[in-house]
């Protein structure tokens, strides 16, 4: 469970201080799917990075199962990311020189799993996203949708409790987008993940249990169905 209290993240742009997230309080129960919408530059990605321990708040606390990501040492946060938090990026962020299987395996490297166990888990993860037959393909040999599936497999192979996705359908065509939305929905249910999705995509957002809208660094939470009817920003 996430508990964010009075979280503020300020950036310095020259002499100007820009608040990306302002005085944010938020609780995300285990197993909840939260979609975050909002205009570009209003703090969605910063919020996601704070949740993932990729960034630290200027003030306030970000508790994940009782551990304050704002105060943990870098090595502890890194360990937490390795074990409990999966990331999906809009541009997939696959390592271009590694095959689909090796990209997925990269997420298991910090865990120190043995080779046999890694291979078994990689095969299972790729199978769960329907890419068992593309394991030896390089990212450049896969379509956008397939690359995002590999990224999803990479995020889930370590069996995290949290999945954080930044515009996971942003670079996909409509058909592929629907496939990815369906896949994420299925995995969320099956794996009982806590899932936070940053998206401009109302179709994706309306699948979430709750929708938050970021505006000038502040988050307004709304029930999902009603929020899905709103135009983001």
């Amino acid at each position: 469970m996430y508990q964010l209290s009075s979280v503020t993240r300020l950036y310095q742009k020259g002499r100007r201080t820009v608040p990306a997230v302002r005085d944010l309080d938020l609780t995300i129960p285990d197993g909840e799917w939260l979609a975050v919408q909002g205009r570009t530059g209003h703090g969605k990605t910063t919020l996601l990075q704070l949740l993932g321990g990729l960034d630290r708040p200027t003030s306030g606390s970000v508790l994940l199962d009782g551990a304050d990501l704002a105060r943990l040492r870098e090595a502890q946060v890194t360990r937490l990311r390795a074990t409990s938090i999966g990331f999906i990026f809009q541009t997939f962020n696959l390592v271009p020189t590694l095959t689909a299987a090796e990209n997925v395996e990269a997420a298991l490297v910090p865990l120190g799993a043995g080779l046999a166990q890694r291979r078994r888990r990689v095969a299972a993860a790729l199978d769960s996203v329907g890419l068992a037959d593309r394991a030896r393909h390089l990212p450049g040999e896969l379509s956008g949708g397939q690359q995002q599936r590999v990224a999803i497999a990479r995020a889930l192979v370590k069996e995290p409790t949290v999945l954080l996705a930044d515009e996971p359908t942003g670079n996909l065509d409509t058909d592929t987008r629907d496939e990815i939305i369906a896949l994420l929905g299925r995995l969320w249910r099956e794996l009982e993940l806590t899932m936070v999705l940053v998206t401009h995509d109302s179709t994706l957002a309306c699948q979430a249990q709750r929708v938050g809208v970021m505006h000038k660094g502040r988050l307004t939470l709304q029930p999902s169905r009603a929020a899905a009817q709103l135009e983001p920003g």
Binding site: L54, D55, T78, N93, V95, L98, A106, A107, V109, K158
Partner: protein, 475 residues
């Protein structure tokens, strides 16, 4: 192993850059090896020359500078050409007209009493001492018509080097370095015999064989052996027994003989560490003598050998240092640029839970691999370069100046003018560039160090990299 898979794939993806970095390092390493090999080749050539000059087993030589001529030129052999023909004077005795001159002299050396040999042999740390005479036999035929109208010019004198060898100490002196290729060596029993051993090069040039006779100081000597000196050595042309040389050689004033006198004392120290001590003892014993060790003798060698030595040690060293620095700089810059291009990739890995040090290890591994490839290529390049230098380098020459005893005078309207031509002895020395195992190992380690430096500089950026900032670039 994932580390190796990732490393291999990255090197393959950035093959062009990897090749550039590895080649840069290889070039630096190759140049270091080639220059080191060339330098070693020059050193070996120089050692070969010195060995020939010195003889095997000789650590110190003792000589004396020749005394300058006093007053009117009366010493040595004087040849004066005038309207009445050629006049040759030895000391105060002069002969005019057609004649043959054949003098055995020590033009470039001062004279030491033979007793110093025993004195030196008794010094501390001296293993042995032998005396020798370094002489030049000069032969000149003066025609009767010289000096008259249309009588032509004075023919060039023919000269060759003759060494008087102490047959009681065969392990010391210039003959000790040689190998008898025909006939036999001089033996103790030959001390008073007119027998000679001839250098193989001189023998070939003058068609001399075992059993041939040669004339030295108007005395016929039978050639009993042909000796081959180490390649590159500045070998005398003829070796004769010291006693005979002392009897036949003309003294500095053009009269008398050199009985009980020597021009050179060859000294062997008990060990290499004792050479300095022996040198200082001899200097104290004979303050006016020149005491030479191999290191001081090396500085007297001139010619292309010395030039090549200076070139290899000065220019070569700096050139290879510069190329190495350039290679390191290029490798480091390319590595830093490569890391900069992979910021998003490293940010993603950090998001996946990779610790910075694991990513640094990955980058260092890639750099190390490029260093190893560069080292291997560099060693091959260096050895190839050394082989090329050996194949293409012209023969080096070592030149030692030695004055002749003859002085020419011409009588003219302005009076008498004279000259004492100095002879130079040049030997061709082949340069064989050879890289030692130590030099190869050091050069290879340099390449690997270069790769690691490049990797360290590249990795420094990774340590500074914040995952959020790295991923923000994606947006």
């Amino acid at each position: 192993m994932f580390f190796l898979t990732y490393l291999r794939r990255e090197l393959r993806r950035r093959i062009r850059q990897s090749v550039v970095i590895a080649l840069g390092l290889a070039l630096g390493v190759g140049l270091v090896i080639a220059v080191t090999a060339a330098s070693a080749g020059v050193r070996n050539a120089q050692a070969s020359v010195l060995k020939g000059l010195y003889g095997v087993g000789t650590d110190v030589t003792v000589t004396k500078k020749p005394a300058p001529p006093k007053g009117r030129p009366g010493g040595g052999t004087r040849i004066q050409i005038g309207p009445g023909g050629g006049t040759v004077c030895n000391g105060s005795k002069c002969h005019t007209g057609a004649q043959k001159v054949d003098n055995l002299t020590s033009p470039g050396s001062g004279i030491l009493p033979a007793s110093v040999v025993a004195k030196i042999a008794r010094l501390r740390d001296v293993a042995g001492a032998a005396g020798g005479l370094v002489l030049t036999d000069t032969q000149l035929t003066i025609p009767a018509s010289i000096g008259s109208a249309g009588g032509g010019t004075l023919p060039q004198p023919k000269s060759f080097d003759v060494d008087g060898v102490d047959l009681g100490h065969p392990a010391l002196g210039p003959l000790s370095a040689g190998t008898i290729s025909a006939g036999r060596n001089l033996a103790a029993a030959d001390a008073r015999a007119n027998v000679a051993v001839v250098d193989s090069s001189y023998a070939i040039a003058n068609k001399i064989k075992t059993g041939s006779t040669i004339t030295i100081a108007k005395t016929r000597f039978t050639v009993v052996g042909i000796v081959r000196q180490p390649q590159g050595g500045s070998a005398p042309d003829v070796y004769i027994p010291l006693v005979r040389a002392q009897a036949l050689a003309t003294g500095p004033a053009g009269k008398g003989h050199l009985r009980n006198e020597v021009t050179t004392v060859y000294v062997a120290a008990r060990s290499a560490a004792d050479i300095a001590s022996v040198r200082s003892q001899i200097s104290a014993l004979l303050p006016s003598a020149t005491v030479t060790t191999s290191s001081s003798l090396a500085s007297q060698v001139t010619g292309s050998l010395a030039s090549a030595g200076r070139l290899a040690s000065d220019l070569g060293r700096w050139l290879s240092v510069l190329v190495l620095i350039a290679a390191f700089a290029v490798a480091s810059l390319l590595m830093m640029a490569a890391v900069a291009r992979r910021v998003r990739e490293f940010g993603t890995l950090k998001a996946l839970g990779w610790r910075s040090r694991r990513i640094v290890a990955q980058v260092m591994g890639e750099s190390l691999a490029m260093g190893v490839i560069g080292a291997a290529a560099g060693v091959a390049l260096g050895l190839g370069g050394a082989a090329l230098i050996t194949a293409l380098a012209p023969k080096l020459t070592a030149t030692l100046a030695s004055p002749t005893a003859m002085r020419f005078f011409s009588a003219g309207p302005a009076g008498t003018s004279g000259s004492s031509p100095s002879a130079t002895h040049s030997v061709a020395v082949p340069m064989i560039a050879s890289a030692s195992a130590g030099a190869i190992v050091v050069a290879a380690l340099l390449a690997i160090a270069g790769g690691l430096i490049a990797g360290t500089l590249g990795s420094w950026r990774i340590g500074q990299l914040r995952p959020a900032a790295a991923l923000a670039r994606v947006e």
